[in-house]
Symmetry: C2
Amino acid sequence: MASDKSENCPAWAAKDESGVLSPYKFKRRDVGKDDISIKITHCGICYADVLLTRNKFGKSLYPLVPGHEIVGTVQEVGSDVQRYKIGDHVGVGTFINSCRDCEYCNDGLEVHCANGIITTINSVDVDGTITKGGYCHRIPDGYPLALAAPLLCAGITVHTPMIRHKMNHPGKSLGVVGLGGLGHMAVKFGKAFGMNVTVFSTSISKKEEALNLLGADNFVVSSDTEQMEALDKSLDFIIDTASGEHPFDPYITTLKTAGVLVLVGAPSEMKLTPVKLLRGMISISGSASGGTKHTQEMLDFCAERHRFFDRHCQSNTFQQLLQFSVYNKMLSHAAESEHILCVVRNISY
Amino acid sequence: MASDKSENCPAWAAKDESGVLSPYKFKRRDVGKDDISIKITHCGICYADVLLTRNKFGKSLYPLVPGHEIVGTVQEVGSDVQRYKIGDHVGVGTFINSCRDCEYCNDGLEVHCANGIITTINSVDVDGTITKGGYCHRIPDGYPLALAAPLLCAGITVHTPMIRHKMNHPGKSLGVVGLGGLGHMAVKFGKAFGMNVTVFSTSISKKEEALNLLGADNFVVSSDTEQMEALDKSLDFIIDTASGEHPFDPYITTLKTAGVLVLVGAPSEMKLTPVKLLRGMISISGSASGGTKHTQEMLDFCAERHRFFDRHCQSNTFQQLLQFSVYNKMLSHAAESEHILCVVRNISY
């Protein structure tokens, strides 16, 4: 593909609600004074890509090019950009813009900006075109880009509430419900933080992956009442990553007094017995994605812990993520395109 | 009634699940070395008394003498008791014993002790008899006993989560769902902390009480969709005191990003839409009663704020609590008995 940015970019896009991807070409704008362009090396694919290409939220803009866990090297730098130079390793996650003037934007929590948050995919940018880029984060030197990509959505989605709820203390116990794109990240972070990690899954088929590939300490089939009851009041925290319908009371029962269940999956309904929350001062807290400041801190943490991650957690490369069944027929625009524009702007970190 | 403690004590007890109270006599033990006896002056009556006399939890021990918001003056002091002298004002709340050797007991959170917590009413004491007393707290001099009584259950039940979740900051906004025994306390504490308080009720009939008697800033009929939508993302906190079945999504929608809904009422089921928690990092947290250390801190706070309470909140005397319809045919053992034994033990505050 030619490197001239005025030419059309090749990508794969869904054209309608079938979600079927087919070749597609689009044009990127020239690099502006606050922009950089990057040469993409890897991109993770998230379940949100699947949902968006199939219009499951009802607001998809077609043609829709999925992909929002993008990493690569800086190829061109705008005149006002001080933070990056050509050749730097960078990543782009879930959003491209926010108001940059509210309490959340000022605190690096742009994802909670109530005015003007624009997501990386499936949004209309300030120039009226479909978004084709996002806020840019530095991938520290020496940290393999293939490992960094899925951190930019799946990683930050579980890392943010883990830090917010102080789930990063060695010796504490963490339950992880579901072992998909989010769940496997939660296991990895839990182990990196020195926690004792129990994986809950509906399927015994995940046991090998949980214990031997990801390094979890314990594996429980959630439909096994005896195993569940044996965990009564034993866990400090739970991260529930399951988006399918499932009961909540059995998990709440496994939490210690003052335990916290963080919900990052999105089933359509949550039903539970209130007295179970009352008796143990149990909290349930939702969380979605994370801000720019926090994303950079996570990337820096992961890079520092790279040796640990590399030894214990071999599954978070793009290729291995593709092994998840729902992902295996998808390709992202990022993986097929040669470059992407990234916005640097006044991010607070 | 004779003051000799070896004689039988008169009280009112439920004899069966009808919950109907009738005269009853029982015997208290002599004052032990860690005991004090008190002459009861007032007692609040709580909805839990109603539930227990009617065996709604399925474990009631009959004859059952209700009442666990007891205040009075010290009448006799055991040989090892250093903290109290005859004539002191004291109060007894919801529990009488705990293991005193776990992380919760050591931190003044005895109510969460997993081993040996014994409630003031409807429990078997260590001597095998039905409990007839409880842990003792000091009512500061000058604070009217009539005001202190309902703090010992209703008060501490809402005060504990308000402190735990930092709901005591002036200028923050608090929603209170339901205006019964718990709800009116939450309004009072909210105003005492300098918060902007909105009362949600199913009944417009509570408006006068909420705004003019309790000093709330705003009153909303929860079934009025327009009023509810006008509060979209406007509240920092909600305390939900309603024990009847009710929807939760409409309240969650009124919370700001990172808002907290504390549940102290106990409907039989809670149903909500998870994505509403995710998008705003919303937390839902249960809470039940509070520990000895916290109870004393609350009593001290209320005594200090007595002038404020006295001016703004005229409804928390025993007589006025009796005006709540569910209470108006009940009398407590405390209000009819002349004395009660209180346990001092090694409480940590």
